[in-house]
């Protein structure tokens, strides 16, 4: 067993597990678990721990959009240069360079459709290298980071069976 990989798998399933429970499941000592997690954090493998939120259950507006971005590079500008600039905006929740018909896939979050639209048109589109943006507003979420947003998770097994 690759110890680090095993811990990463467990934390991806549930990052709130105690060190003791991580130790029990892996067969490692608690000290060893702490040491490995510290290493994973220090080396930048584990970048953070966040909640997976179904916004439907909260009051107030929350809007997500996926933005396709096309850019034009020149001798002085690389993808990373453009990415660095876009990633700085707090409205941008994720930013990836992708293969296919466009260059960057940008996730944008905001409190209203108007706010998100304005952000894209006022902050992203004017960047000199950006040649095109296509904004897709998220209409419904069914699954996020491996977690399904449905409520029929009922265990229909008999409570006791041979």
């Amino acid at each position: 067993m690759d110890e680090k990989r095993e811990l990463v798998d467990l934390l991806r399933e549930n990052a709130r597990q105690s060190t003791a429970d991580l130790a029990r499941q892996t067969g490692l000592s608690e000290d060893r678990v702490e040491e490995l997690v510290a290493e994973l954090e220090a080396s930048g493998v584990l970048r953070g721990y966040q909640a997976v939120v179904d916004w439907d259950g909260l009051d107030g507006e929350h809007v997500q959009a996926e933005v396709e971005l096309n850019v034009e590079l020149d001798r002085e500008t690389k993808y990373t240069d453009i990415a660095r600039r876009i990633a700085k905006f707090p409205e941008v929740s994720s930013l990836r360079l992708v293969s296919g018909t466009y260059d960057f896939a940008v996730d944008v979050e905001g409190e209203s459709m108007r706010g998100v639209s304005q952000f894209v048109s006022d902050q992203i589109a004017p960047i000199p290298e950006v040649t095109q943006t296509v904004t897709h507003f998220v209409m419904d979420t069914y699954k996020e980071r491996g977690i399904e947003f449905d409520d029929y998770d009922e265990d229909d097994r008999l409570s006791v069976s041979p």
């Binding site: 499941q25 265990d155 097994r157 409570s159």
Partner: protein, 381 residues
């Protein structure tokens, strides 16, 4: 109507009583379940749906679809088992049907059938229904519930015609390594016993690989191997298993099967073909999850001072509760709302133990273990 004696003499399963107790209560966390908490891999389910959409609702060949038997031939090679799909493989309605067929095919009225205990609740009744006489062979906690040559000899299994063998084991989670199996095989050869090897949990071995007794010298010709899709592929409700044996044994079993079952569920056979074709990753992911839970549960029992040997198969732990297992299980259910099965339900040698199934999500498992710890701390046996 008069009920036949051989049926009357078999009492209802002891599991039934606990099931009824648990069903009456709300908010019970159950560690009493003998099946995975996962659903069958999605690809297998879509194959079943697809077969229905295409109208595949007829009988299949008695022995099962040839495509499935060929897939089974390739599948069991991982345990060094080699069987001819035309003559040596029979697809059955769950491994349970296969066990029943074998008992009826090989047991004469009054024949002794050695069954190691504690064991899965169906073997002894199946022997009785077939007209045989069950012979109890004990297994012991000090052997980690493995079957030994001495136990077979002391129990008088030399006079038996058939040995029923189940490793990895339900209810103990015990496994047998090749060394131990060699002893059992030697006994079977010396005393000319047929071996019925229920290997339904072969795919759920942790820290080591499963060895089938049929692969040991001189054993293939006297062994029927049972396996299926219920446990490893989380397909319990689809009811599909299979038997592997030399041609004359499969012929005999198929003679009963063709008149009583005709063929196993067609939809399930389509699901099984896909399960064997493309679901290895899903199966190994489930095994990984079971293994984590296994280590977690064993570690918690160790910390709370309940003696529990290191179960390395299936999805059961079998701790010693230090007293009356039925009283423990009932008390735990009433005061802490955790259902598990008292070991005595599984026959002699099970008393004083609890079968704890860890086929339950990690969050519930954590809560259940907290509750067991709280209950055990105040329990005086």
């Amino acid at each position: 109507m008069k009920i036949a004696d051989r049926v009357e003499q078999v009492p209802p399963s002891g599991i039934r009583r606990f099931f009824e107790l648990a069903e009456e209560m709300d908010d019970v966390i159950s560690l009493g379940v003998g099946e995975p908490d996962f659903s069958a891999p999605w690809a297998a389910r879509t194959a079943a749906i697809d077969s229905l959409e295409r109208g595949r609702t007829s009988y299949t060949a008695n022995r099962g679809m040839r495509e499935l038997r060929e897939a089974i031939q390739r599948y069991v090679r991982r345990w060094d088992l080699e069987y001819d799909p035309d003559t040596e493989i029979l697809v059955t309605t769950g491994a349970s049907e296969a066990v029943d067929l074998a008992m009826r095919a090989f047991v004469e009225p009054g024949d002794a059938v050695a069954v190691h205990q504690p064991s899965y609740v169906s073997y002894v009744p199946t022997v009785t229904f077939a007209g045989g006489e069950p012979l109890t062979v004990p297994t012991y906690p000090e052997d980690d519930f493995a079957l030994t040559y001495d136990a077979l000899r002391e129990a008088g299994a030399a006079d038996a015609e058939v040995l029923m063998l189940c490793y990895p084991n339900n209810p103990t989670g015990a496994v047998m390594e090749e060394d131990g199996l060699r002893e059992v095989a030697e006994f079977a050869r010396e005393h000319d016993l047929a071996v019925l090897a229920d290997e339904i949990y072969a795919g759920l071995r942790y820290e080591g690989e499963h060895t089938s007794i049929a692969t040991l010298p001189g054993m293939r010709e006297r062994t029927v191997v049972f396996n299926g899709f219920s446990k490893t592929h989380a397909m319990t409700g689809l009811r599909l298993g299979f038997a592997l044996a030399p041609p004359e044994a499969i012929d005999a079993m198929n003679r009963i099967h063709q008149y009583t079952m005709l063929s196993s569920p067609t939809t399930a056979q389509y699901a099984a073909i896909e399960a064997l074709r493309s679901c290895d990753d899903a199966v190994s992911e489930m095994r990984t999850q079971f293994d984590r839970r296994r280590r977690f549960v064993l570690s918690r029992f160790d910390e709370m001072g309940l003696d529990c040997f290191e179960a390395r198969g299936a999805f059961y732990a079998f701790p010693d509760c230090g007293g009356d297992d039925e009283a423990f299980a009932e008390g735990l259910l009433e005061s802490e709302r955790v259902a598990l099965v008292p070991g005595s339900v599984f026959g002699p040698g099970g008393e004083g133990h609890l079968r704890v199934s860890y086929a339950t999500g990690m969050d519930e498992l954590k809560t259940a273990m907290d509750r067991i710890e709280r209950f055990a701390a105040d329990w005086s046996g």
